[in-house]
């Protein structure tokens, strides 16, 4: 998709103004324009074309070969902490000095933000995991938090629709906690991985499966199957992974009814004080720093949880002094993510492999889905809800082999026992004082008050982390591993959800089950803000399914001329 020159849309009216062109915004734009409506999509970042992608640039073509992040640290002290930010793609992300945030989390929360059409889909981990009623109705069973106001049956047709379009490669496993979908053929497990899968199943009954990944094994819509070259987060000229930039947004633009405004720093939802309806969006042009307004019959915030919530706070009016759509007082509360960084690793002396730099690189690892606190199973001592284990089986070069000279060079390549690594990531409970608000005294380079965040893990998360490490070590021991070492790190993943939770009661929720704000009938928030719980599953697939469902509802309202 080329960067095309758009006429200045300031002052124009559309059917819907969409903020954000990523996971949720791309679907909203596609579905609305394909239904005949005109939309404006405001995107803070720029458009990339295939020529900008660098997945085929080898490390040795870069000055530092991607092996140090020191050159990034001045402009990007926060972004550079993420595994997804490196010498190949650092210029895709915010300059932390231009776009800071105030962080009260313990440990520090690394808030990763690309500034691109397609948003975080440019660099996501591509994990597509369905939630189930075990998650949607968890509160009914353990009394913690609130249920989702929807069921798996409500979301199922949307999961099917989204997965079919996205193209998700996976293995059907029949697990109630990890529902199957219309998968593309699996990429497959190596022989060594199959051994681990069998042993874990025999020892514990747990399933170790291919991670369900948004990478094609069959062509769809002109997108080619993956050719296993390596780092999807450096781009993909064959369009083999899922990125809104060359899928949903491209579809929307093809209709001729989508006006994409890049470099648009969305600031406030504009309100009509008489009708108490949204009129449009005020944004700051990134280049000129001039304020601009676009108008719509409805507004859909799809900017990612923290950015959409920030907009609602920054849209406070005399009528809504605590933030727009915040009559419940819950806006910004119950912020959640998944916490990761704990697990264990060990070697299997009887399962060996030869390391090689000549092999295909599968764009996903393995997954051991949640096995704790499942219905019909034992309640785990010490924590509620559960977690999954990202699972890796493989062998690297033994660069620390002893010796020097040719003997050393030969030793590093030798066939040796595979390493099995389990790395946990788990559900975070909703806490009213894990929050996203704005700091009125700190503005970014565009004059917009910045996000202030507290996202601190508590007792349940810490107890879960201990289990990730100790139980992973038990699994390793039972399958015959040696040299088992536990890891006890703790870091929040880029899975922020929950700051405008959905519900049926306007006193205890911000959004309806269709992601419409209770307070403002023509204002929607379609990203992860609406999640009442985090579950253990990566949120993006559910965000996309909910966004399509919400857009269908919005479409009905617009067709009925309700606004």
């Amino acid at each position: 998709m080329s960067a095309h020159h758009q006429p200045d849309p300031a002052g124009q009216s559309f059917d819907v103004v969409i903020v954000g062109s990523g996971a949720s915004g791309g679907w909203a734009a596609k579905r609305l324009t394909e239904a005949g409506l005109r939309v404006a999509v405001l995107e803070a970042g720029r458009a990339l074309s295939d020529a900008d992608y660098k997945e085929h640039v080898s490390a040795y073509q870069l000055p530092y070969r991607g092996r140090t992040k020191a050159p990034l640290e001045s402009a990007q002290p926060i972004q550079s902490k993420s595994y997804a930010v490196d010498e190949w793609n650092a210029d895709w992300y915010v300059n932390d000095n231009e776009e800071p945030y105030v962080d009260e989390s313990d440990p520090q929360f690394v808030w990763v933000r690309p500034r691109l059409v397609g948003g975080r889909l440019n660099i996501w981990g591509r994990g597509c995991l369905r939630m189930s009623d075990i998650d949607f109705k968890a509160a009914s069973h353990d009394g913690i938090g609130v249920d989702w106001p929807i069921t798996y049956a409500d979301l199922l047709p949307y999961y099917d629709l989204v997965e079919s379009y996205v193209g998700v490669s996976g293995m059907k496993e029949g697990l109630p906690q990890y529902p199957d979908g219309p998968f593309q053929p699996p990429i497959g497990l190596t022989c060594q991985e199959m051994t681990v899968r069998t042993r874990v199943k025999d020892a514990f009954g747990y399933t170790v499966t291919q991670g369900r990944t948004a990478n094609l094994t069959r062509a769809i819509n002109g997108r080619q199957p993956c050719h296993y070259c390596g780092p999807c987060e450096h781009g993909c000229v064959t369009h083999s992974y899922f990125n809104a930039a060359f899928t949903t947004m491209a579809d929307a633009l093809k209709t001729g009814r989508c006006t994409l405004v890049t470099g648009a720093m969305a600031y406030k939802v504009l309100m009509d004080p008489d009708t108490h309806r949204a009129r449009g969006v005020l944004y700051i042009d990134r280049t000129t720093r001039q304020p601009r307004e676009v108008f719509g019959r409805a507004v859909a915030l799809c900017a990612q949880s923290l950015e959409s919530t920030r907009m609602l706070f920054n849209s406070a009016t005399r009528q809504a002094p605590n933030g727009l759509a915040n009559s419940s007082g819950l806006l910004g509360k119950y912020l959640m993510t998944h916490f990761a960084g704990a697990g264990a690793a060990g070697e299997l002396p009887d399962v060996t492999d030869e390391p090689s730099m000549g092999r295909a690189s599968r764009p996903c690892g393995l997954l051991t889905p949640r096995y704790r606190n499942l219905p019909g199973g034992p309640k785990t001592d010490g924590f509620a809800r559960g977690y999954a284990l990202s699972t890796y089986v493989g062998v690297g070069f033994d660069f620390s082999a002893p010796g020097i000279g040719e003997a050393y060079k030969s030793a590093i390549k030798q066939r040796r026992p595979v390493t099995v690594t389990f790395s946990g990531f788990g559900e975070c409970l909703p806490y009213a004082d894990n929050t996203c608000t704005v700091d009125p005294d700190t503005r970014d380079a565009f004059g917009i008050p910045v996000v202030r965040i507290r996202l601190t893990p508590r007792q349940n998360e810490l107890a879960m982390h201990r289990d990730m490490a100790t139980h992973a070590a038990e699994i390793l021991e039972r399958i015959g591993a040696r040299n088992i070492r536990q890891t006890h790190g703790l870091r929040g993943q880029a899975h922020e959800v929950g700051t405008a939770r959905m519900g049926t009661d306007p006193k205890t929720s911000v959004l309806t089950p269709f992601l419409q704000t209770h307070d403002v009938a023509n204002l929607f928030v379609m990203d992860g803000s609406g999640f009442p719980s985090s579950a253990w599953q990566n949120p993006t697939l559910t965000i996309m399914a909910l966004a399509v469902r919400s857009t269908d509802y919005l479409l009905e309202q617009l067709r009925a001329a309700n606004y």
């Binding site: 085929h56 640039v57 080898s58 490390a59 040795y60 073509q61 000055p63 530092y64 070969r65 991607g66 092996r67 140090t68 020191a70 050159p71 595994y83 981990g125 591509r126 699996p186 990429i187 497959g188 497990l189 190596t190 022989c191 060594q192 991985e193 199959m194 051994t195 899968r197 069998t198 025999d202 080619q224 296993y228 070259c229 390596g230 780092p231 999807c232 000229v237 064959t238 730099m357 000549g358 092999r359 295909a360 690189s361 599968r362 764009p363 690892g365 997954l367 890796y392 493989g394 690297g396 660069f399 620390s400 020097i404 000279g405 040719e406 060079k409 590093i412 390549k413 690594t421 990566n538």
Partner: protein, 194 residues
């Protein structure tokens, strides 16, 4: 989910003998459905096809020609000697210059242990032979390295890290230079494994 333990860069299926670069490109493009045969038999290659291999290097980024940015002449010369001892070929692959480039931007916490390890070679050579490491014979240098396991380990990690991230070093470990794999090496055994 991303496998953060895999190391870059990643590689490809070996090219068959005698395949020219152009025919390899056409082969790749064809397998991606990017080559169309017209009614008169002419081939049209989709612009995407060129992009698949457009960033293949003609040669590695030339690192050796620049003056050192961090190390002084003596340090660089010492590093050059010890690099080829520990990892033969590390100098030809540009390792000393690459290490110097990284040190020039890194933090004191990273620089200090390297500088210390390198200087430990001279310190040990002074103690044993009253001269610099560079001035020892090869046999004496090898013996000295083997007598200093922590110093050896520190230098080895830098030098191996540099050599095996060069194009030449990667090829020694199986990298073939192209980036296309039609399939993944999945298990085909029907009964799984125990």
């Amino acid at each position: 989910m991303t496998d953060t333990t895999r190391f870059l860069p990643l590689a490809s299926a070996p090219e068959p003998e005698g395949v020219t670069r152009r025919s390899a490109l056409q082969g790749l493009a064809a397998s991606l459905g990017l080559v169309a045969i017209g009614p008169d038999g002419t081939e049209t290659t989709h612009p995407l096809a060129a992009h698949i291999v457009q960033r293949r290097p003609a040669a590695s980024a030339k690192v050796e020609a620049e003056a050192p940015r961090f190390l002084d002449a003596h340090q660089l010369a010492t590093l050059t000697v010890v690099a080829d001892l520990i990892v033969p070929g590390a100098v030809a692959s540009g390792s000393p210059a690459y290490i110097d480039r990284v040190l020039a931007v890194e933090s004191p916490a990273v620089r200090r242990p390297f500088v210390s390890a390198l200087a430990s070679l001279d310190a040990a050579a002074q103690e044993q032979q009253r001269t610099t490491f560079r001035a020892l014979t090869s046999a004496q240098q090898v013996a000295l390295l083997e007598s200093q396991p922590r110093v050896l380990a520190a230098l080895k990690s830098w030098i191996a890290g540099a050599h095996y991230s060069s194009e030449f070093g990667m090829k020694e470990l199986g990298f073939t230079g192209t980036m296309f794999h039609a399939t993944f090496h999945a298990c085909t055994h029907p009964d799984g494994h125990a």
